[in-house]
Symmetry: C2
Subunit: 336 residues, 2 copies
Amino acid sequence: MSRSESSRAQPSQLVGQDAVAVELSAVIVSASPDGPMVLVRQPDAQSPAALPFGPLEPFHRTIEEGLRAWVEELTGYDLGYVEQLYTFGDANRHASARARAGRVLSIGYLALIHEARPRRSQNSNWHSWYRFFPWEDWRNAEPAIMPSIRESIDGWIAEAPRDERKSREERMRLTFGLPDERWNEELVLERYELLYEIGLVPEAHRDGASCWAPREAAIMAADSLHADHRRILATGISRLRGKIKYRPVVFELMPPRFTFLQLQRTVEALAGVELHKPNFRRLVEHQGLVEETGAVTSKTGGRPARLLRFRREILVERPASGIGLPPLRQRSTSRR
Amino acid sequence: MSRSESSRAQPSQLVGQDAVAVELSAVIVSASPDGPMVLVRQPDAQSPAALPFGPLEPFHRTIEEGLRAWVEELTGYDLGYVEQLYTFGDANRHASARARAGRVLSIGYLALIHEARPRRSQNSNWHSWYRFFPWEDWRNAEPAIMPSIRESIDGWIAEAPRDERKSREERMRLTFGLPDERWNEELVLERYELLYEIGLVPEAHRDGASCWAPREAAIMAADSLHADHRRILATGISRLRGKIKYRPVVFELMPPRFTFLQLQRTVEALAGVELHKPNFRRLVEHQGLVEETGAVTSKTGGRPARLLRFRREILVERPASGIGLPPLRQRSTSRR
DNA sequence: TCAAAAGTGTTATCCTTACACCCATGT
DNA sequence: ACATGGGTGTAAGGATAACACTTTTGA
């Protein structure tokens, strides 16, 4: 744990023109009844919250193993499913870090784990990821911050030079949608980048980006993260929301036995939208993604539910099977 | 150009425990009547063919800009569409490079360009990507190397310890398919990795991997590439084959005006499978991906064809529109 | 006239979506 | 009894995939 902090504090280790510091960061996701959870570290009250991260060391055999080693050391968790997300290295982000230490490349990973029980580290905690992206949770209704976001973006559109007006409008429509359109839950990163560019997110000002909006206009209802970790988290959410549709990854987040509704709630938590119950069950059933355990549970309230388990065989039968979100439940929102 | 070679030749520049050399490599794709082309460099007769690559330099503002700068310097091409593929850094690949210089991270990019005309560099040439992956071209019939590949893999399965037998069989079935199954054109990387692990590809022996097959068994009908560039190319092909289905990227490879059949041939070249003509046209038409220019051409042989252009508006209307391969043309192969 | 490519019509099938409704349990 | 969640039936609509067939050119 100490190694992480020290090697960041002494960037002078890095010498030579081509030297690049490589940081590994992990979006570690689990599902709980409260929603989609992400593991966040805060070593002490002064430092900002951050994803678990650490430098790539020469003794790491592979990048992924380096990541697993860091996460195990920092948080005590042994990762299961892991996939690489993206390598971030724009010099215009991380402005301060770059001035100190040259370029920092950060390789983001997505990891899924079954249980969100706390481990030995006192510094790691699970938070709903909507704490960092409150505008991404459309499960019950339009999120409360949406009107103010829309208003700010409208201002940014209105103040555009004549020729740029239309492209800004289109960008708003594509990412945040128009009142009549379906919310596209996959565009988490695109929405974050729009907010960043406009300056509605405090880290844009921290990084010294030139923004349209003043620092005071930033959305303070959403927590920020160290360096570009909120961007990395957005990338992870986007990837996961996309992937559940064509690969059976949700089950990496489920306990060994679960009911249809638990599965549905997990998918809804990840996607941030509500689904149509009868069609959801049939879809999952029909795809051969689950099988009955024979057991039932009556802890769910109402009629007892059958307990299911994931059919691991599907991974070799049809690895491209996923869950497919379209069947939306009717929602009573302010829009439309 | 010289900078690239020199900084690789003098890895001693890199000092310090954390120092990591970062290499940018590009899979640059274009489409020609002869098939899908990739740009490959061969500085001199002795050195192996390689994708265009160069180190990430401190003065590059972003990783992508660094890549564009290198490609422009090495090949004279100005890249259009560019996307990051993956960051490769396993220490077990690149064995020799690592011994000399510590870890080499290589960030792979995919770039698409319209015309495959030669540029100023004498060292860069366009090659059909099937020169490196002959088993990936199923357009006319089962590729000629397939029987021998199947035979080798069967041997590897047969010699497996009892408990591993089944998982090897499943892996073979998933990647290369069984006689009765549809060929899954997206699994380019998975197939390459299987061949690498078994040792059917010469670079596995070069890298010092411990392989089942002897060096002599390697498939010599397919050309190898510098370092892990064949793996990077496989990643690029996989990504592109997947992406044409849900995003209108093919048009990045098309000239301003084209006929339905030209478009179909390009998609077929990329996907390595043949498509059903009438259904393909309707699909493309129906999705609103193209519009008529009003002009026709009679250079195609047979009845003159209407010339189409890409409807750029679709990018903002429905950015998730793609081409969708399923409609296969009946093929007369050796396999069912 | 024939080959080659362009282009149209039609149908069976499957999947998605929406709507309506019944079932079993705890309080 | 009624609220809560579990669970089934079905029919409309759209997209896909397969088949058969016509049109227009150049050699």
